[in-house]
Symmetry: C2
Subunit: 320 residues, 2 copies
Amino acid sequence: MENKWLVGVDIGGTTIKMAFVTNNGDIVDKWEIPTNTENGGINITSDIAKAINEKLQNLGESRQMLGAIGLGAPAFIEMDTGFVYEAVNIGWKNFALKEILEKETGLPVKLDNDANIAALGEMWRGAGDGAKNLLCITLGTGVGGGIIANGQILHGINGMAGEVGHITSVPEGGAPCNCGKTGCLETIASATGMVRLAMEQLSSHPQSALFTIYKENGKLTTKDIFASLEKGDTYANEVVETTAYHLGLALANLANAFNPHKIVIGGGVSKAGNLILDPLERHFKKFALKRVAEGAEFKIATLGNDAGVIGGAWIAKQIQ
Amino acid sequence: MENKWLVGVDIGGTTIKMAFVTNNGDIVDKWEIPTNTENGGINITSDIAKAINEKLQNLGESRQMLGAIGLGAPAFIEMDTGFVYEAVNIGWKNFALKEILEKETGLPVKLDNDANIAALGEMWRGAGDGAKNLLCITLGTGVGGGIIANGQILHGINGMAGEVGHITSVPEGGAPCNCGKTGCLETIASATGMVRLAMEQLSSHPQSALFTIYKENGKLTTKDIFASLEKGDTYANEVVETTAYHLGLALANLANAFNPHKIVIGGGVSKAGNLILDPLERHFKKFALKRVAEGAEFKIATLGNDAGVIGGAWIAKQIQ
């Protein structure tokens, strides 16, 4: 058992990331295949099974080398049975994913959602450094989250635990969110949300570097915002301060409830490093209890796109 | 083992509540002794040991009848060792509580803080009905909380998990809180906080029932506020709406992160029953994700003062 490899699988809307991973979390080999969302995603499980077999052949290894599969997907999953209620971007609906993938591969399968396996990956081999109480937040197109408490990922009563992107940051008059509510943290702290904030008051700041960039490119990105901040642009600073303020407040409120050891920030926005981390920590400390703030360490995620497959391997390890 | 009694102990600043409890959580006998806070609380452990022996004698039972002690105290406790860093209202400072109480009683001892054992009591035998994902919030002089996730009480990295009373409800210009911050939920949703809110605008509402009561009694209580609300007083309704709004927002934000099955409201304010629960649930549903709101059931705590000793017995059961 000790020497067997774990299979980490991270399904996205366009590609499926896969890896063979050792029992210690080292990647032996990693690769990607396209996500075939046709016909309600019916071929995805056989595509995964085929890809595993081909990779084994290429490496000259037998099926006996593999212990178990851990798979993450952007889906509502019934944890006990591995049944997928719905995965909008994949096409699955009422799909017995665990059962079917176990039949196709002959390996035991464990599932979780994509944000949770990313958090487990960072906990195991990334910025989390094995912390048993960890909050992982991903600032990308949306804001995703995974919460580890007492060493376990939280799922809650119906798999919704960790939906920190839908904490309400602006209770009255906030921007509409994809979830149907308004003023969610996601509308302010995601990459999309930061650009929205920057666009909102852009015409009132014709002197700003952001205004010039927008005029040239016809659009803005978070990269533009942080680059302008670094050059001393006041308006870019205002935008980042607004994001850091709301994110710091939301994380401090969560931290007063969870008392995490590590707070790991991932996703596109986290590439700004200290430009986002410094103002974020400053606002966090204003709103967190002193002892809670002392216990919490902020870290930028380190695994990038590998977080999912490593976290997948971690959940596979639990059933191997 | 099955037939042995568990000893639940709930230490407060003035009294120590004690009970012998069966393995199923039924109270065999319960009683109180005064908390002797003199000399840094040095006599408390021998007082507890003596009270246990006397009660056994009265019941005509031997020491063999007892399995373990579970004790809650308003204290910062190192969970692994049962060492108390500080318990301001008791007097302990750097006190090896678990070790000393085990020597005094000859029984294994497990500790936790008072808010956590109350949450565990409600989970086991109260409004929580065994829910593995439960949020318990106590609206009393302050606002306390206990969070159960995956069936375990959360402690976090340094014992601060569950400090939901210090979630920031009013980020700018909020009232000062005992913790040193401003605008904490406790300044709005505790009994003290509700009376503070009512007093704040009282002089602008000379027609209100609350104004008349204040003139007569020289003070207001939450009982006055809820009684006036019941009689249709508009200003009392405003005060309760403000509390329910902020509490609903804070609990919805927590619920989006935890996805609890039960949200149990205890403490003095909870005696108002549906007068607080109805507006609270209305505001909660505005701010929680739909699926999160569907998964969460609000309940008024049912165990009252027994929650602590029953929760104490629950943690004793874990080590028996």
